[in-house]
């Protein structure tokens, strides 16, 4: 099973997210992460879906997504040819003895300390999923109180934009 990153442009209509999540549930596909937000065009939202699946099933996922009436465009973003980012907040147990070690560790990952208390530190980190997982692994021995991750967002490298064609179609007469 490989991780695949799908960038999905959808019409910004009520229930679109439910339709997409529902399609995955209905067909027994697994979503690894899902991030959704507006684009520069208020009529269009962009979802980034990370799915762990084999190629045959990925094809079926893309085809089933394409059947949803509000889905405008789907592109698979190759990990090597795209910029992929996740945001992560981690609250780590920390006392006077360990605090400086943890701060040092965060520095290595170019993460920010966003909150400090007597017995905890909260670290904000952004990066590709691999980097964030590596950081967690190193923080784990100190005791992770809680953490949250945003899900991956991604854009293809270079000048090409997948929204151009979709915007064009928004004006097309059917």
């Amino acid at each position: 099973m490989d991780r695949h990153t799908l960038s999905v442009l959808v019409e910004n209509k009520p229930g679109v997210l439910t339709r997409i999540a529902g399609m995955f549930a209905r067909r027994n596909y697994n979503i690894h992460s899902l991030a959704v937000g507006p684009t520069d065009d208020p009529r269009v939202s962009r979802l980034t879906l990370v799915v762990g699946t084999e190629a045959v099933q990925l094809e079926q996922i893309v085809k089933q997504l394409n059947k949803l009436v509000h889905v405008l465009k789907i592109v698979e973003l190759d990990a090597g040819e795209s910029v992929q980012r996740e945001l992560q907040l981690v609250k780590v147990a920390a006392d006077a003895a360990t605090r400086s070690q943890i701060i040092e560790l965060a520095d290595v990952f170019r993460a920010k300390i966003v909150d400090v208390d007597h017995d905890s530190i909260t670290i904000e980190a952004a990066g590709n999923p691999g980097k964030l997982e590596a950081m967690i692994e190193l923080l784990e021995p100190y005791g992770i109180r809680e953490m949250v991750r945003s899900g991956t967002i991604a854009l293809a490298r270079g000048t090409k934009s997948i929204t151009d064609g979709a915007k064009l179609r928004m004006q097309r007469v059917v």
Binding site: T18, G22, V56, K63, V69, R169
Partner: protein
């Protein structure tokens, strides 16, 4: 309809409810199947003045199955209209049914007022949420100005591409609000662009693959019926001499009487139909979806076959079976393209495969492995005999509609179908109770000159027979046949074969209800056939009645089973032609 008041020249102010009815009229809808209630009541008022026929059903499930039957029979969109909450949830079975069998249906449901949505108001249900996975699309209309566009879009989505059910949910206050009437000129769905024409390169590759095949067969599915591609299929198959297997959903789209017709494949298919798919070296798959009831064990299905797959829904291609030549497009258009290439190469016969031996082999299988059943000279009536007699009585002109179970399989097997839309049933979802309302809808669609015969089972019939009142009230003369064996026959068959004959909860008293009294209660003629001797004379009497619904009950042998049969999960190579064969196989395996 009366319309609304006029404010400025060319401007017409109407209520949302009037906009609903005007939209249906603008689409050319002439009949709606429905049931009124609180939230949809505003729409029932302008209905009184509309150019629409409204068929009042007895249960909302009846409304949607009637809409399906209408759509099945005519190829047009079937429309139903019901109120919110429990009425809308009563559509769920029919929506799922239409979704599975790609039937174009438009369902309009009332919803509680916008201000009450989410408050658990009286008769509130999240209908768009509930029906999302079983509709092609749906919408909760959020403003009166949106009504016309929502209905126009829904109708377009329902009928185009791969047809399917679309639901429009309209809050009561939106129905009561006023708006300036405007019929949208175009449908604005930027994300919806079905591919209609096949790719030229794929078309040529498909023809080359066919030319090289030794044992080609057309695997013809319901998509051909939806596309109305009877003629194109006939021209294509005969042009290249390709044998044709028609699935349960495609029965009739290629005439069973044609020498290239091999029969039905699948769990209860004709022997030659099942074997043809197993032995073929090229499946020319047209509007079929490799359903598990056709393939049996998928890994053992058509083991020697390359696959050409034509489907308007790209997601069907490669879903269950890897494909050598995929063609996305409307199967009628694609067949036209294939024929065009053949026409252009009129002097070049190289596309026709050398398959004479294969055709001979299939013809021998058809001859040597006919459907097996024995009708004793006297005594108990076999269901197959009854169904054959029904066909002899109402003939090739009639449309036959079935429920789900043994009677459905016998009806699919024993009636020779000669055209698409002549056979209507619930294939994908297997909805018991489908026949009575679907037959009523079909009859409304085809009109008085074409007989519509429902062939139902006693179990199925009892799920929806309340719609007999609808047929009576609206003067819809359907012939309702009930094959009464006093059991849920198909479940009983499985319990007999696979559960050591331990019959659990499958007996239905053959006398309860007394169907003759039931016919009487509905004020329609009822006929009961108990023996072979009575068959012809009784059916002749029933056949004479063409101006009102008729009920015919056949008391048949409860022990009769459907064969051929491929046991669930088995390879199609293991097709059984009789129960004796099954017992012999069990004995041989030491079970």
């Amino acid at each position: 309809m009366s319309g609304g008041k006029h404010t400025a020249p060319g401007t017409q102010v109407v209520t949302g409810a009037q906009a609903v009815i005007k939209s249906l009229e603008a689409l050319g809808v002439d009949v709606v199947f429905g049931y009124p209630g609180g939230a949809i009541m505003p729409a029932y008022d302008p209905l009184l003045d509309a150019e629409l026929t409204h068929v009042l059903v007895r249960h909302e499930q009846g409304a949607i199955h009637m809409a399906e039957g209408y759509a099945h029979a005519t190829g047009e969109v079937g429309v139903c209209i019901v109120t919110s909450g429990p009425a809308a949830t009563n559509l769920v079975t029919g929506l799922a049914d239409a979704h599975m069998d790609s039937i174009p249906v438009l369902a309009i449901t009332g919803q509680v007022a916008r201000s009450a949505i989410g408050s658990d108001a009286f008769q509130e249900a999240d209908v768009t949420g509930i029906t999302m996975p079983i509709t092609k699309h749906n919408e909760l209309v959020q403003s009166p100005e949106r009504i016309a566009a929502a209905i126009k879009e829904a109708y377009h989505v329902a009928r185009s591409g791969r047809p399917g059910p679309v639901l429009v949910d309209i809050p009561k206050d939106v129905l009561n609000a006023t708006l300036v009437w405007e019929w949208p000129e175009r449908v604005d769905l930027p994300g919806y662009r079905p591919t209609v024409r096949g790719h030229g390169k794929m078309i040529r590759e498909a023809l080359q693959l066919i030319a090289q095949a030794q044992r080609p067969v057309i695997y013809a599915g319901g998509g051909l019926v939806r596309a109305g591609a009877d003629e194109e299929l006939h021209a294509f198959a005969t042009r290249l001499g390709l044998p044709v297997v028609t699935t349960l959903m495609a029965r009739g789209v290629f005439p069973d009487t044609h020498e290239l017709a091999v029969g039905m494949p699948g769990m209860h298919g004709h022997y030659a139909g099942v074997k043809a798919l197993q032995q073929t070296d090229l499946l020319v798959t047209l509007g079929a979806r490799f359903d598990d009831r056709v393939t049996g064990s998928l890994e053992h299905f058509a083991p020697h076959a390359k696959v050409i797959h034509v489907d308007v829904d790209p997601a069907e291609i490669g879903k269950n079976r890897a494909v050598d030549v995929p063609i996305v497009g409307d199967v009628k258009v694609v067949l036209g393209q294939l024929l065009k290439v053949l026409d252009d190469k009129a002097d070049d016969a190289s596309f026709a495969p050398d398959a004479a031996d294969w055709r001979r082999h299939l013809a021998e299988m058809k001859r040597d492995h006919p459907l097996r059943f024995e009708q004793p000279e006297t005594g108990v009536l076999k269901p197959q005999t009854a169904i054959r007699a029904v066909h002899e009585t109402w003939g090739d002109e009639a449309v036959y509609v079935s429920g789900v179970g043994q009677h459905q399989m016998w009806s699919a097997q024993h009636i020779p179908y000669t055209r698409g839309r002549q056979w209507i049933n619930s294939g994908g979802l297997g909805t018991m109770g489908f026949a009575v309302p679907a037959a009523i809808g079909a009859k409304v669609g085809v009109g008085r000159d074409t007989p519509v015969v429902a062939i139902d089972g006693d179990g199925c019939f009892q799920m929806t027979f309340q719609e007999l009142a609808t047929a009576v009230q609206h003067d819809i003369p359907v012939v309702f046949c009930v094959v009464n064996n006093g059991y849920l026959g198909m479940v009983r068959q499985w319990q007999h074969l696979f559960y050591d004959d331990r019959l659990s909860q499958v007996a239905l008293p053959q006398d309860c209800p007394d169907l003759m009294k039931l016919a009487d209660a509905y004020g329609i003629p009822g006929f009961r056939v108990q023996t072979v001797d009575e068959l012809d004379a009784t059916l002749a009497k029933a056949h004479e009645i063409t101006d009102q619904p008729v009920l015919v009950e056949f008391r048949v042998d409860p022990d009769e089973m459907v064969f051929p049969m491929v046991p669930s999960g088995a390879s199609n190579d293991e097709v059984l032609e009789s129960a004796d064969e099954w017992r012999a196989r069990l004995a041989a395996s030491g079970q």
